[in-house]
Subunit: 465 residues, 4 copies
């Protein structure tokens, strides 16, 4: 949803990473394909670094824009002779500015040759690590954790990237899924809590890492397994091997990946995202039933939950909202009057479906509340008799320290208002959020395995003071 | 679906038109909003002509690309003082080249001032009319029927645009929905058969015409009624008035508007497009039942039909295909091996849903057959046990003479192959097309009111020899 | 001088035309080369039309910008199989808007096939011809005289372009050099007064026409002769032939072509432009001698005149003004203070040359006077003791009706002020304009053969009332 | 000469730097003006860093292209509140790649805040310094000496930039003119040999540094003096102060600055570039006299030398070559036949001047010899009876280690061929190079003060082995 670049209304994932090593494959080309599959995780910049596997100078291209804008010509990528590559798509996150300098993979030279790094996540001790490095004379040209990691690696004596990372990684505190290469091997890592996802796939002639499994389908790879919390996975011409270089805590995968971020055809910890979403809808129907005529979801992310709701409630599922897919980056603002009347360029209600009906409208989350109000206005303008808002997750009341771009807590409607106030502010006839317990149950994993901090305020790992 | 510009796999509508007259409204701005709503009808070029209503020099901007590319800055449009405007989006069609010259609205000067014209459709006697005009010394700078119409109007003596059009329209043979302005009034017309849609809406201070009703919602207008076949509608400061200037035949609205072209939230002849599509699916389930586990539709156009099928068949509807919304214009081609394995950038199957299942896959039409084969390969790769292809319309076997871009008949799979051959070529386990009778019944209008020529070969109006 | 597009300070030629017919040559490619040579005559748009010579559909490309922007890839042009081509570069002129529609060559279809037209000049009776054509039902899509000519040709019955033009040309009143093709032959024409230049060159396998002879050198053609006033020259596979289709008056070639417009390496009526300019300088030195230390010219156009002045005055010629060649289209305005101090991005004085010197500054003309003031400020700031302004042409006091873009007479400094006033306004220590008689004598042609209307007010042909 | 980016035929200066500190001035805006004046020193990228003077976060913009392309909107620059700014234009040089990463000024964070650096020149010990830094764990993201300097500064303990630089500079070996800022002050430095120029000017409210004095005129600054070899100049709110932080050798300013690189209106070591060039021409005439009719220079760089030659030889100076100023970046190659005939898009000879004449053609240098051959062909095609080539400097036979981009010695014609061979290869009737002694004498400084290494092979400072 590209216009959200301009006006983000949903929490946003900060990045997607991928990369692999395979002999006899066009790795830069495959990595580009994988980035297309991960595009929903970041639409602000894209980049690829590729190497022969022999440690020579790497090929790097990165830029602002969609994958298709940074790599307009696929033929070019097939010409690059390479056995390894890593890729990255990103949103800017928090303190990281939106400048071209911050695009990734970051490529740099250090004493043992070249290094290219890409990451998803957010380090909690980056400030103190930076200060320490700066004391030692380091200079920083970007705001990225990738540059920080590169500095740490370069300060280790070892020419062996595994050894250098093994020495560095225990110093990192926070959420991260890194993919790093020195032009000889590709190394992936997940933090000890496993906040951010990273999976391993098998290619002809090698292996591939990706933030989400959907990229494996796109490049013809087979899913092998998720990288474990605290695990380091090394891909080179000998295949794949695993190292444990940092203490592993109880896995705390971000539950919002299931609720909203990940692509429906991805599996996380063995659970299919689409099926989880439908189960969220079913449980929502049981927890917050309502007399209604039809059930509708907000396209595209809430349609699965809405169809689960409909199934459970034995109500017809109807596509009462139609999305205009051509709006793009440009933002043409309606007049005040049009806005109040519920006119919207991006979404429109199907009058013949909605007219005179009691509608259950399912959305995956409420952040500021303005979008919900707009949607309900659209429904009422199209003639809906009643609109019952159902949210397939609990109220978002806290920020994320692990790599998700959630608005400042003061802007979160659930932070300042109770249920009835939110109902009134969104003009809904009734409002129901799925409880934390039911949300976790829908995922089907033990509660302790899922980070729920933005809902509960219970942060597995505290940021630095 | 922009990459279809490069490789069209579906029949394509040639154009969308709109325009209106309203005092006290930012008409150029509203027309731009309406074009966003009509963008699915043409993504190759866009344009707007606007005037004060006093007949002075008009403002015109047109160019290649999406509405958002041609009009990147909405603020600019609010600055144009105008009480009337017309707009146009288009694909190139048949003989009309893809050159910038052919963008519309076409603006020109004639003896009584300026004229701007925009149209959707295809004139059957354009060649003979052109020859006749050329004999009289006319010169043509574009391939558009809009220019032809302008020539005919200019050759009439009358300063009154209604009178001039009244004299000209009876000479036109073919399918058309025109929107024309001389800077004083906006005039809309539909051909006597009503092949192409055009509807009238009410704005504060005036009226608005649009190819589809969905544009009314976007600009805050109220639907009034469809323009009738053979009717001319004049919008000016006195409001709206209707003239009949050509003989009206039995209405023959293009049935493909219901099956594929029109936006789901539009109503044509009082029938909602989304609801018709669901009914097509229901009838398809009755006509071609099959033992299966789940039903899925090809996103986005066939989801309504698939959910109707599921409902009728009492099978679970599942979103087993996920669409990548970020592919854009660029075309990155997979390798031969990847292609054979069913790897696709644009669509992916959800393995956890499909695995081991007997799947009914619903699509709205088969043109060349290559897309169906690709989809079924994707399903099988994801583990589907059986894939039963169901098409919510009859086999397309003929071309269209009324403004739809259907591939050459020799490229239509149904033109050269029988049902069993097509089943084999698409690798489906079974194949069923909805019959013509059931398709018409799903729309809910008398068969005589719908043009079905591309299915039946029964053309209401023959092209010139 | 591209920034003059934004702020024209000199009279500007409206256009350059060229074109030819030669078998076995890449005519579109050669025409592009010729347009590069004519680029100084128009930098706002460029275009080429090319045909096989058999009358088939022509290839046309035109657009806003420099030749290098409209034709960025020369390889493309070599692929066009063509024996004939015409080309055009332009400024917008007077009533012709600056819109993309007005780019040339204009290509259009008429009863006998296609026609492409390009012109330099200005028709005086275009308004009445347009009205007459509009009465007959013609429509106009551009403001160009090229479109007008095409209409007139199309209304003639003859399939033979020569015949059609022969019938049409006598109706044209004004200044013009046309190059026209119907895809079978290329025809060039000059008006009966020969206001605008057009020359004929010989290529291997054919002939070529160009506004200026410098284009012949660029494409390897040999100069043959100037096209005569009132002459029509037809190029086709039989070679070249000449027709007289309109009355020829006494030749009145625009004298400003010698003074400023034409390229120094061009010859007009057998006179080399550079040598004429030097002679203008010599005569200026004789007519307005002054005690001084050095002579300098305003780059680039006045350097020839200045060196002639220096030679005659036996004073050293010095390049005291340096031009920045990288300013381009962008216009970065200095602050008020900088402006007053004589700071300028585009021109700078060489202090070591100018300091303490009495400088003769030679310029080719004064239009508004603001540039002269700026130049003299720059000289004084660099330490010049005295600055004597010498102009190598008479005071410009009237507008041009024959295709030159001279500012409105009310903006011409010489129209409202006498010599002493102009001297004061430009802060010159002394000021001298070359007299009309000496200007004509420097060209070396009889006075009656040169249009001097903008200096004398003596217009050979009056515009319509 | 922008197309030389694609096909460099002349030695090229690597960069231009500038920057200053002045209260109450729009420093970013003035720096942009100064960059326009220095554009001839580098046309590949441009950039500006600006700060308030209080050490806060700096504003930086840099990009590929001309100054006018990187800073298209001057209004933007006036909005930046800043008392200090530095600027840079560049060609890529030697090992520095042509990638966007290498644009300058480089901005980075270190322990004491931010640093922005820009330089002209070439460090000879960069490799060993890099290795040493890498040993200490440093990472490098660019190939620039600017990044190297920043690393060295960051490793010094001092918060005081002067102190840090004072400690660092003695370690640098090679040619450099640096401009550095920490957002509090602007510091300029020249290496101990003074290979590259840097001058100091006075602004209202402060001071300004620039590679060439021509930039002072453009921004309304007054020339104060050249920065001395080995001198460090500090500009801050207290004005300007000078430090000597490294040993000063005998000044060895690049003599090619006078011959070709610098702008004619610049003064280096008190000598005006234009006047030096004229003197080069005079001495060339004395050293290599020839019987001839006219003298011409290759525009634009050799016109001064040619006019000096003409003056001394008492021959008429004629502009026999006309340069097309509109060719730009695009490269449209003539056909083989056209090339052999001496057809050229960029330069044309004036036939009426050249025909039947014995021409002395003056150029500033010969590198590969191909350009000379082309020019002489053009002259002969225009009818020149004889062409005598005179070069206003000695034969270039060695590469430059101090920041000038001279082709590999194996490509230098004078490296492999003697005078007579070169004459034959360029088809000249006679050939004369100005001797080293006369070249130095024309500059008017002691020979020991000028680096002449590319002519003599006598390198003041040897590169690392």
């Amino acid at each position: 949803m590209r216009d959200e670049i301009i006006a983000p209304v949903k929490p946003r994932d900060a990045c997607g990473v991928c990369g692999g090593f395979a002999t006899g494959q066009d790795m830069a080309f495959l990595t580009c394909f994988a980035l297309y599959a991960l595009q929903h995780r970041g639409q602000e910049s894209a980049g690829i670094a590729a190497g022969t596997g022999g440690g020579k100078k790497m090929w790097v291209k990165r830029g602002m824009g969609l994958v298709s804008e940074v790599f307009p010509d696929s033929a070019e990528l097939k010409k690059i002779k390479c056995n390894l590559a890593i890729g990255h798509v990103r949103y800017s996150y928090g303190s990281e500015g939106r400048s071209p300098e911050n695009t990734q993979p970051l490529r740099l030279r250090y004493r043992h040759g070249e290094l290219a790094t890409a990451h998803n996540g957010h380090l909690l001790n980056s400030r103190s690590l930076r200060l320490e490095l700066e004391e030692g004379g380091a200079i920083f040209q970007t705001d990225t954790d990738s540059e920080l990691l590169a500095h740490l690696v370069a300060r280790q004596g070892s020419i062996n990237l595994e050894e250098a990372l093994a020495a560095v990684v225990p110093r990192l505190k926070g959420a991260y899924a890194f993919v790093v290469t020195d032009g000889r091997k590709v190394i992936g890592m997940r933090d000890g809590y496993g906040f951010r996802p990273l999976s391993l796939g098998k290619l002809d002639g090698g292996y591939f890492l990706s933030s989400e499994t959907c990229a494996f389908d796109t490049i013809g790879a087979e899913f092998v397994r998720d990288v474990l919390p605290g695990e380091m996975v090394v891909l080179d011409e000998q295949g794949v091997r695993s190292l444990r270089v940092t203490g592993a805590e109880q896995e705390s995968l971000c539950i919002f990946e299931y609720i909203y971020f990940a692509r429906p055809d991805s599996n996380l910890q063995g659970k299919n995202v689409h099926l989880v979403r439908r189960e969220l809808g079913r449980r929502l129907a049981r927890e917050h039933p309502v007399k209604a005529d039809i059930v509708s979801g907000v396209p595209d992310s809430s349609i699965a939950a809405a169809s689960g709701f409909a199934e459970e409630a034995r109500l017809p599922y109807e596509m009462s909202l139609v999305k205009n897919r051509y709006i793009g980056r440009t933002f043409i603002k309606p007049t005040q009057q049009m806005r109040e009347e519920g006119v919207d360029l991006k979404l429109n209600a199907v009058q013949k479906i909605v007219e005179g009906k009691r509608v259950v409208l399912v959305d995956d989350s409420i952040v500021r509340g303005t979008t919900s109000l707009k949607l309900i206005r659209i429904m009422r303008r199209a003639g809906a008799k009643e609109v019952h808002l159902r949210i397939s997750s609990p109220p978002v009341s806290g920020s994320c320290h692990y790599g998700i771009d959630i608005p400042n807590p003061v802007d979160l409607i659930a932070n300042k208002h109770d249920l009835e106030e939110i109902r009134k502010m969104t003009c809904a006839d009734s409002l129901g959020y799925l409880s934390m317990a039911e949300t976790v149950a829908a995922v089907g994993l033990p509660s302790g395995n899922l980070c729920q901090a933005c809902f509960t305020g219970d942060y597995p790992l505290r940021p630095e003071e």
